[in-house]
Symmetry: C2
Subunit: 186 residues, 2 copies
């Protein structure tokens, strides 16, 4: 039996969760557009129109995924210690939640005006800024540089553009890369 199927009658129990989870799984396999609402509904064992009640439309599902992603990223960043840690937390989140990460930075895919989403996105952004301020490296441009290098390495890793020689641990490989931003400093 699958992961759900436990308590399903006319009411699913937690369709919203089931759909989001199924979406994340599908996106990880075949990209942000490689799935259909009807397929997710079938996987969850509900009718083809059931998801619409919770999400409105297809973009609504991706809005939920993106919001969940921003919350996860914020939580990940909040635990980081020093400068390198912060960047590696970013990389760790992105590479362990590639589906979320891919959706988060493609606003055309979701309802970017959604209040829940905006809140989550702002929180993630704040976590990054706050974390960087604590490290003392708050010269102008440094925040953007840190964000850029962490985001770039993450995006390249997730897209599969990086050479296989880097191994399978994105955080270990990322450490060498992010450290370059600190060369010649204290």
């Amino acid at each position: 039996m699958s992961t759900r199927e436990a308590v399903i009658g006319y009411h699913h129990g937690d369709l919203r969760r089931a759909i989001v989870d199924a979406a994340v799984e599908s996106i990880a396999e075949s990209g942000p557009s490689g799935w259909s609402l009807r397929e997710l509904a079938r996987r969850a064992g509900v009718s083809h129109a059931a998801p619409a009640h919770h999400f409105g439309d297809k973009a609504g599902v991706l809005t939920a995924v993106a919001a969940e992603g921003f919350r996860g990223l914020a939580a990940s960043l909040a635990q980081a210690g020093d400068f390198l840690d912060l960047g590696l937390a970013y990389v760790a989140f992105a590479t362990s939640h590639p589906a979320h990460f891919q959706v988060m930075f493609q606003p055309e895919l979701y309802h970017s005006g959604d209040p829940d989403l905006s809140t989550a996105a702002d929180a993630a952004r704040a976590a990054l800024t706050d974390g960087l301020r604590e490290t003392g490296l708050d010269e102008p441009g440094m925040e953007l540089a840190a964000w850029s290098i962490a985001h770039g390495f993450s995006a390249l890793w997730v897209s599969g553009a990086l050479p296989a020689e880097l191994g399978k641990d994105p955080v270990a490989a990322g450490r060498e890369v992010l450290a370059r931003l600190l060369d010649g400093r204290r």
Copy 2:
């Protein structure tokens, strides 16, 4: 009259180009999946099945877009001079060709095994490596760091994630950011 419409009889003249251009335009407006083959066909003034002859399927169109993108990136990088220049050339290409850039780094969207595409992708990769070697900054990890920071800044800019205060010139803003990778060096 639109850009084409000039010489169209039963044979379009250059349907392949027209479709790729229309695709790039559509992608820039509504993302890598915000368009349909039939819409492009209508725009080009041909029947709904005409594009299939040139590209096979929808992914085929995106394969052509990605290949064109990699060729453009390679050309852009080949002209760069010093280290900063190289990174800024990357940023300049990405931000002036956002549609190409977005597609290039989403391999699920196209036929990544396509020979023409592979050749173009390899050329772009080589242009980056060669350009960096010439700058003398070829310590281990430095290539990845440069690629990451340039790619990250580009991706963030294209996705609209960066604050509006940065202005409208991505290359000018990028210069300040990429320069951080060189602080404390020669």
